[in-house]
Each structure stands twice: as C-alpha cells, then as structure tokens.
C-alpha cells in the first residue's frame, strides 16, 4: 500500500477536472469571481462617498471580506460528495476492485477538484487583474498576485476539509450537513468565539495567545495573510501595534495554510484506508 502509482492519480484527477469543465462548473465559478471582484473594485469605497477604483490595497481588503465567505462555501460544495457520492451510487466498490489503492483514489479526486477550483480562481480574479492592470504599478500587481495565491490556498484548505468530511459521512445528506456546519463554524462562529473569550477575560489572561488562536482557522489565516501584510491597511485599521511580528511573516502564514491543506487530507486517507 506504500507505493503510489501517479498514473492512477492522474487518471482519476483528469476525470474529475474534465467533469467540472464540461458541466461548466469552472466557467460559472470564474464568472462569479469576476463579477464580484469588479463590483468591489469600483464600488467598494462607496460607503466613504467615493465611487471608482481607489487603491489596490483598499480593493484587496474589500475583496478579502468577500472571498472569506465565498471560497470556503464553494470549496465545501465542490468536495463534500467526492467519496460519499461514489459510495452512495455504488461505483466506489467497482473502483476499488480496479488496480488502484484507496490512497491513490483520494489523491486523484482531490487533485482533480483542486485543479478545477484553482483554475476558476485564476480565471475569475485574473480577468479582473487584467482589467485593472493599466492602473496598477508593479508593487500593486505583486500584492494582487499575492491575494490570488492566498485565495487559492484558502480554497484548497477548505476542499481538503470537504474531502475529509466526505470520507467520514455515511451518506450524502449527512455530508452536506457537515459541510454547512463546517462553513458556519469557521466563517461565522469561530471569530465570535475568540472575541467572546477576549471580552469575558477582558484581555487579562493570556492576551498574547489570542492572535495565535487565529491560526486554528484557515479563513483567519487567509485574512491575516492579506490584511496584516499590507502597510497601508495596517495603518488604516490601526492594527500595526497590537499584532505579533511573527504573524505578519507571509512565509510562516503560508506554511500554516499548507498544514491546513495537508492535514485534513492526511486524516481523510488514514480513515479511508481503515
């Protein structure tokens, strides 16, 4: 079981990816990203009484607030039935009698779905990047590329969580429930919990630990990665002083994101092989 046949992974991944291209999933998601990003770039500052493109940093800050809701949801929907769907259909038994290991099957499924999600993200936000490019200098383009890259990592981490749920769930209905629950927890509840803890303890106990708790949530890692590494935004939100230096190091944050991609996938494989 230890040897891995990459050809088998590629075959399964290819099928998953082309399925999403053919049923226009990739196109639809890319269009959603493009539309939202354009609206935000031009109207994001409307509250401050200005319409039109302002600066890349403010635009990215607004995009982050959108993407943090949207991408986890899309990734969870994409991945929740990866395994349980095949099991419910009865095709899983058939696949497992072929010369493919359970590990290769999961890795193939994940790779194919990850490719579809990555492709949509690059196409959707890339199109906006192209539209904005005449107004951007090199540094701004670099920041925008960083945002896109972190958005891809965010999607991949939630896709990894989705595949993990898909292995644990006994049927599709339960898997979809778990996916929605996961979204609620990480996107809505988690920050409130931390905020609540801060308020209750009035910051007296372990206040220095709280910023690190954010690493337990890939959505927060994404936010930190984008917001706290931009000088203008840090100043804008007055956050520069309260945040630990280590957490504004993109390499460390990227590493944590990678952990959020590899971890749940490893758990999924472990469970599926049992």
């Amino acid at each position: 079981m230890l040897s891995i046949d990459f050809r088998q992974i590629a075959i399964v991944a290819g099928k998953e990816f082309w399925d999403r291209i053919r049923n226009r999933w990739v196109l639809a998601v890319a269009l959603v990203f493009t539309a939202f990003a354009l609206v935000i770039a031009y109207f994001g500052a409307a509250q401050q009484g200005a319409v039109g493109f302002r600066s890349i940093e403010v635009t990215i800050a607004s995009l982050v607030s959108l993407v943090i809701y949207l991408i986890p949801l899309i990734a969870l929907i994409l991945g929740f039935d990866a395994v349980v769907g095949e099991r419910e259909r009865g095709s899983l038994d058939l696949l497992l009698t072929l010369p493919i290991t359970r590990r290769e099957l999961i890795l193939g499924k994940y790779t194919g779905l990850a490719a579809a999600l990555t492709f949509s993200t690059i196409a959707g936000f890339g199109a906006v990047g192209l539209i904005l490019s005449p107004q951007l200098n090199l540094t701004a383009l670099f920041h925008y590329a960083g945002f896109m890259f972190s958005a891809i990592l965010l999607g991949l981490s939630f896709l990894s969580l989705a595949v993990m749920l898909s292995v644990f769930a006994s049927d599709r209905t339960r898997a979809s429930g778990l996916a929605i629950g996961t979204w609620f927890f990480f996107v809505l509840v988690f920050d409130l919990l931390i905020l609540g803890m801060l308020v209750v303890t009035a910051g007296d106990y372990g206040g220095a630990v709280f910023p690190y708790l954010l690493l337990l949530n890939p959505a927060d890692v994404f936010r930190v990665l984008n917001v706290f590494t931009l000088d203008e935004v840090r100043t804008l939100y007055g956050l520069a002083t309260v945040f630990p230096e280590a957490l504004s190091n993109p390499a460390i944050l990227g590493g944590v994101m990678l952990g959020w991609i590899v971890g749940p996938l490893a758990v999924a494989i472990w469970r599926f092989e049992r």
Binding site: D19, G90, L94, T97, L98, P99
Partner: protein, 304 residues
C-alpha cells in the same frame, strides 16, 4: 496456473456482534462457471466482497490465483479480475465510450479495445450517447463491457441479469459460454434460480452465513433425494387406471389438474412405476418426468 483459481479456507466475517459469514470453505477450478445462490442476508454479497478484497476478512484466508486477497502482490492479481456489481451505477455525464475509456485507463488496457467490447454487448449504436439516457438494461450491458476490459481470467458477476429482458439474458449467457470456451472462470450470483440451473457447472447454496451444499445441480438433487413428478396426459378414466396399476407402490401424492395427472414419487420408484405405466398403452397420450428444480433443492436445503 494453480489447480484452484479461487480458494477460501475457514472464512468468517464479523460486523460488530453479528457474524455474517461463519466459516466458509470454497474452491473454484479454472474455467468453471460457478453459481452462488442464497436469499438476501445469507452472506453471499459479504463473501463476494471479501473475495474481491473490498472488505477485510475477520478470520481465515482467501486466495485468488494463489495470491492472498489484499496481499502484497494482489494489485497485479486485480488486473486479471473483472467485476460487475449488482445494480451498477456509472457516471451519468459520460458517454458509454468515455465510461469505458476511464475504466480502461485505470486497468492499463489500450483504449482501442473499448469499441469492440461495446459491440460485443450490443451497445455499439449508443457508444456516443450519455449514460444518463441509457435504460436499465443498457447500463447493465455497459457494466458488463467494463467487467470484460483487459480480457480478465476471472469474472465476478453479482446478479448480472437484473433488468435485462429475455432476449438480452440469452445474449448475456451466450457471451458467458464464449468466455467459458476461452477458459475464463466465472462466479455469479442470481436469485433467478431457474435461469442459473441450466447454465452453471457447479453451485453453492448459502444460508445463514454458511455454505450448506456445493455440487452440480444433479448431485444436489440426488443428495437431497427430492421426489420426482410424473406428468401424464390422457383420455377419460385415466386417473382410475393409473391408480390401479400403481397400487401398492410408495406414491407420495396424485393430483389431477385438468386432463393432466401429477404423480409425486420417490426417486427410486421411478423405473418400476414407468414399467407399470407402460402397460396402460393408448390410455396415456403423453408422459413427462419432471426433475425437482433448483428452487425445490434450494428450499429443501433451507428448510431441511
């Protein structure tokens, strides 16, 4: 090649506190067409899944072509196995040909084999149509084509004729006979006992997690010593005359259904009874000897 292609020794399977398979021994020779019968819950699908390495064996061992199931070299053994699951559901969004391409790729079989296989199962006309539009029978044929990819030496067919019309069932068994001619071993389950009985070489009757009996249909019938039925058609007064000539014999029952008499009698009474009936001459228009069907044998084992 080993003298047995499928060998099970003392195989059990526990699901929590329930023991679904309670110590099965089985050996299937290369080139055999082997039937596994039993009602739902008898343990035959569990046994099937263990033979395919889909679920772990609790105790005992199964070897396929000498190789322990899920042993280090079983991945290679899998290339020789074809499997048609019960109620196969394939991918709706792919065409028939694309479906076969996908499985061919995973089995490392050249894609050029696919068109021929679709033709073999009678789906050549629908190769380019999406599986979504296929009827149940067409899906079953596609599943069968999938199982045949890579010219397997061993085929596991779970309720293979479900959803097929009589013509398609005939075609299906025609292909099985061809494969048997090529030396392919086939293990199939079916609940349509009448369909399986003329077609398998040997069969195993499963009940309550155990194999109650194995053998050919004929040896099972004889072992059960089930009564035969003589069906006699004739003119007026037939019943009285038959009653007279058979008087004193160990007849189980005589029933009259229209102009036909159904006489149930023990196997050993068959020849003496026929000799006496021959004296009736023209009173008898027709006589048929009906052997107990596989159903009779099956229910005999279940109830005995």
């Amino acid at each position: 090649m080993a003298s047995t292609i499928v060998e099970a020794r003392g195989v059990t399977k526990d699901f929590g506190t329930v023991q679904a398979v309670k110590g099965v021994d089985l050996s299937i020779a290369p080139g055999e067409l082997y039937g596994l019968i039993g009602h739902n819950g008898a343990g035959k699908s569990t046994l099937f899944k263990m033979m395919l390495g889909l679920i772990p064996i609790s105790t005992g061992e199964i070897r396929i072509d000498g190789e322990p199931v899920n042993g280090p070299r079983f991945r290679e053994t899998r290339r020789k196995i074809g499997y048609l699951p019960e109620n196969v559901v394939l991918y709706d969004n792919l065409t028939g040909l694309e479906t076969l391409y996908f499985f061919a790729d995973l089995k490392a079989v050249p894609r050029r084999e696919c068109t021929g296989l679709l033709d073999k199962v009678g789906l050549a006309h629908a190769a380019g149509r999406r599986v979504r539009e296929y009827s149940k029978g067409m899906r079953q044929r596609l599943g069968f084509a999938q199982a045949l990819l890579g010219t397997p030496r061993l085929l596991f067919l779970d309720e293979p004729t479900t959803g097929l019309d009589p013509g398609a069932i005939r075609d299906f068994y025609r292909i099985l006979r061809e494969l048997k001619g090529e030396g392919v071993t086939m293990v199939l389950t079916s609940h349509i006992l009448a369909e399986i009985q003329e077609r398998v070489d040997r069969l195993a009757i499963m009940e309550g997690g155990l194999i109650r009996a194995t053998g050919t249909v004929q040896t099972l019938r004889e072992a059960m010593n089930l009564p035969l039925t003589l069906e006699i058609a004739g003119g007026a007064g037939l019943a009285e005359q038959v009653g007279r000539v058979l008087e004193g014999m160990a007849i189980e029952s005589i029933e009259e259904a229209g102009s036909v008499l159904h006489i149930r009698l023990p196997r050993e009474a068959k020849m003496p009874a026929l000799a006496r009936l021959a004296t009736l001459g023209d009173t008898m228009r027709d006589l048929r000897v009906r052997e107990p069907s596989l159903e009779d044998v099956f229910f005999g084992y279940r109830n005995g």
